[in-house]
Amino acid sequence: MAAVASLADPPRIALVGNPNCGKTALFNALTGARQKVANYPGVTVERKLGHFVSPAGARVQVLDLPGTYSLRARSPDEEVTRDVVLGRFEHEPMPDVLVCVADATNLRLHLRLVIELKKLGRPLILALNMMDVAEKRGCRIDAAALLAALGVAVVPTVAIRRGGIAGLLAQIDRTVAVMGPRGAAAPCGWTEPSAHDLRGYHREVEAVLRDALRDAGRPSLATRRIDAVLLHPAVGLLFLLTVLFLMFQAVFAWAEAPMELIDAGLSALQAAVAAVMPDGALKSLITDGIIAGVGSVVIFLPQILVLFFFIQILEDSGYMARAAFLLDRLMGGVGLHGRAFIPLLSSFACAVPGIMAARTIENRADRLATIMIAPLMTCAARLPVYTLLIAAFVPDGTVMGGMIGLQGLVMFTLYAAGILSALAVAFVLKRTVFKGAREPLLMELPAYRLPSPRNVLIGLLERARIFLARAGTIIFAIMVLLWFLASFPVPPEGAAGPAIDHSFAGMLGHALAPLLAPIGFTWQIAIALVPGIAAREVAVAALGTVYALSESGDALESSLAGVLAADWSLPTALALLAWFVFAPQCVSTLSVVKRETNSWFWTAVMIAYMTLLAYAAAFVTFHVSTALLGG
């Protein structure tokens, strides 16, 4: 039973449209939100709610919905759109006005949904988006003729630059003013259109286009020429690998100076606190727990921002969709669904949105296979762990005549290891538990766009906010707890060795040490791995706190990387890197797997297979590197 809107509720408008037509950009322009936008389809997989006050003073609720080509939903994200539009959600009233967002450069495809929505008989506005690109392509649309042919209000927009928003707001005000009483829209008798109906819609679209489309335009010559190179099976793949390689070189080269600055700032802060405060529990908590722990993670902010600067540029330019096209053959070789690329790509930021993006995959077996491998992609939380160990153990030198930085090369290898292991796991899963024919990738290639500096800046600020919010919440809270566990109980009178040996954390570390000794991990690593279950980078913060409480004097003044380089063997560091490529150490990821699969079984399978892989990889790495390099 659908909920019914009360008269007191503000009017609700829903943004509906095909994938990658600019719904979220329009949502952001209307509400002032900063939801993720990117130049490829499938970014929005759940409904988002926002508000704005219109120029007429009306408070309006806006729903941003996942893209769909038709109300004949086939995948879970499309079902969300269909159910919201048709008012099928139990706790959510039906939208009062539908704003159908259509890509003006491809009206033939987008108008089919407009026709389908019009048949619902509900207030409908057509936002003709990306008008700037359409005009550049020589596409000429007669908006008045379109209005006459469709019988719905048409507003040209350029959502990404907030163009046409005033016109759209005025149209929303007019539509809200003339619509019937709130809650009067009875659930319509919608039935799924048959193939015959769809052919009918197509004929209607052709009739509308005959009246309204003066010139369809064509993709620019530059786009076709660039695509000829970037989509070439050999040259295109080489270009992709080069881009990724340069990205990881830049992560180390560009971030070095700001990281040193943050490090110096944190050391100065630690020294200042130590000088000002008398000895006691609070001083230890601030210097050893908070500054040493949280600070050892915050230092990696510049690297995260450099990495996401590149990702944002690649997404906004339209190159990511080409990368999906290029890698489709590779993904198909292991049996993955063509649409798996976007979830896997999203997982480079965080596995949580990656797993949620698997909703765009219709077939449950293919969706499960994608979910099971998504956490193997190298998420941003692994970056601090990788960087710390690389900085500690990989010399800051170059290879190939000084052309390639060694540290960047190792980072590239770790990312490649994540991708290759994901493909290997997918290969096994698709030939055993998730058997089935492979479905091809059907994807619209978006137009190339010059990335908007504003969009890039907002994306980076959002990334910085997320990273610092995590440092200030999850990592901060866990470090305070870890400081307590690593400081108490205090050692008995006359006890030898560092105080942490006698603490709860020390006892836990020593208890776990025998289990982890075969893979070369020390008891300090054992302590760090436990809070690392909350979030991977917490392991770095935990190492910072554990070593701050273990050492004294000069050791405290050197960076965590320096302390680790002195305390661990190279095989131990390599084994820990191998562990982090596979370990399922993030409680958020596991809970979202439970939610998306609606099954504890698949969550348990993921924990089991990733832990086994992590242990095996660390074991092999430790013993092979010990044999080759010495302990």
Partner: protein, 67 residues
């Protein structure tokens, strides 16, 4: 003494926060919120650890005023 008091308070608060945000399942948290008369968070936000900028601890609800 005052240092011990502040440190103990910080540890207790951190313990409560970790218990609430990381240990308790989202369903139980929602039930407790309802019992306390607080509107539960959006279901979509339930599982997110706030790492991805989605609805978990993502951007606060926006209210843009036009005109």
């Amino acid at each position: 003494m005052w240092q011990d008091l502040i440190a103990d308070t910080a540890v207790l608060l951190a313990f409560a926060w970790v218990l609430w945000r990381l240990v308790l399942p989202a369903g139980l948290r929602g039930r407790l919120r309802r019992l306390a008369g607080v509107r539960p968070r959006d279901a979509a936000a339930g599982a997110c650890g706030g790492c991805c900028g989605c609805t978990g601890t993502g951007s606060p609800a926006q209210h843009r005023r036009h005109g």
